[in-house]
Symmetry: C2
Amino acid sequence: MDKNQEPGREDILKAAKRIQPSLNRTPILTCSFIDAVVGATVFFKCENFQKAGAFKSRGATNALLSYDSYDIKNGVATHSSGNHAAALARAAQLKHIPAYIVMPENSSKIKVEAVKGYGGKITFCKPTLVSREEKLNEVLNETNAFEIHPYNNYAVIAGQATAALELIEDLPGLDTIVSPVGGGGLLSGTALAAHYFSSTTKVIGAEPSGADDAYQSFYQKKFIPSINPDTVADGLRTSLGSLTFPIIRHLVSDIITVNDHATIEAMKMVWERMKIIIEPSSSVALAMVIKHKHRFAGQKIGIIISGGNVDLMHLPWL
Amino acid sequence: MDKNQEPGREDILKAAKRIQPSLNRTPILTCSFIDAVVGATVFFKCENFQKAGAFKSRGATNALLSYDSYDIKNGVATHSSGNHAAALARAAQLKHIPAYIVMPENSSKIKVEAVKGYGGKITFCKPTLVSREEKLNEVLNETNAFEIHPYNNYAVIAGQATAALELIEDLPGLDTIVSPVGGGGLLSGTALAAHYFSSTTKVIGAEPSGADDAYQSFYQKKFIPSINPDTVADGLRTSLGSLTFPIIRHLVSDIITVNDHATIEAMKMVWERMKIIIEPSSSVALAMVIKHKHRFAGQKIGIIISGGNVDLMHLPWL
């Protein structure tokens, strides 16, 4: 694919084919209790069962497998405290190239261990965006590695689109697909997949009210950055990117916010009723659907469960 | 089936057919991380995804669907603080008969809510076996309900056997199946299923060392009751029954104990790595396999994950 061009139909189909041998086709689960709560039929696309525990493996793997091997011969690098770090380390391991990961020194031990487990080379930095970017630049200069941004990258977006592609293939005729929105990689990919493969399906973004930059940007029709985000959904604190925002603005039907209390309740409901581990960032989507259930009454709704990486020593309801 | 005769091949096949429309054929999951830890290939039969969150639905549903409607026209009754209570309430709801459940007054709120959610009629008692049995007798006298014992009942055992039957159907040639053992309903059913449908597969019971009555009974070749059981595995504190012990003694290859520390570690490993919720009683089986991995090196092992009903407010590692 052309790195500088928005992914089209063929780019998404090729991404799906490219990543298929290395990743899981994740299951789609349902829960009669939750259907009764919502008053609709909800299909959960379970990326918590994806390799490295989140959809992020799709984007990182597609990027590394689609780039010219010469361009990434010195390895790849990113700054991330979360799922993209482990996903990139795993993808680099598949390509037998190093992955340099800049992580804030206060990153959770389990996330650090996950990156190390996939052979990632970690450089710690102070937990500020300035320090992360400075340290990443140092690493890039020292190693000549290729930066793989967690979402502002068309190959990553095409990879993330494959989650919704699989959902659409397995379940034609969905009325709505809901995806959480942080930097917008998953939401823009989902919107592209629906646009090309299920044009009657609406795509809606769900965002924490304490980190509502996508909601603000969508309605003010201009980029509004995330300033002092305050939410339990640690994967959704980032701002939209220059590549993700235009796709979202063009193809997403709505962005709706929900507060952390509802997110934690939804997370606990899924753990108790579905017996699966989902992370707070994933729970935002169900929380929003429950809170706004009158908008979805009787629909067939797909919800993308973005990941299942949770620090089990610190659960948000305890 | 004949209520008074040990389930045979046909009884188990009929039970599977009988319960199939009302229950889930649960998935079988694998985890490459756990395979590497054990040095074997482990297949998890996930009864945590069963209706009412545990294999207990198989036995309760088979009993209620196989009994003469006249015998149970006044409803069914049991004493249980655990998964059998919810399973029986759900099965009775399917038959449109009442389920009278005697529960200790200190039962967890979530288990009480589950029974109520399936329409069960709860009578509370003191948290002693004497009080439970006295109160159940009162209820039986008042209601003329039919008692459905959680494990000492051949129709229940035939139902529990269907979990291993499905595992064997989906995965021929397993070397070993491991099941946790409390009262022995699941373990005796598993042993019968292997005996009739996969006679080269060994069946091993895993038991908490703090509640090792099955281990003691198995090796002393006589019934030894569980006295003052002390284990985090709340479903495994009961003693073997007069119907389950002979089957276990005859058909089970071994019973191996494991301590609670290892059980809690195994439970956390499954939550973290497989992203599924399993209860402590289920974790005993994996903990035993990890601790004794030299015995299972290179094997194809089936582990029955018995259930996923956990009080999320009180996790054993916190």
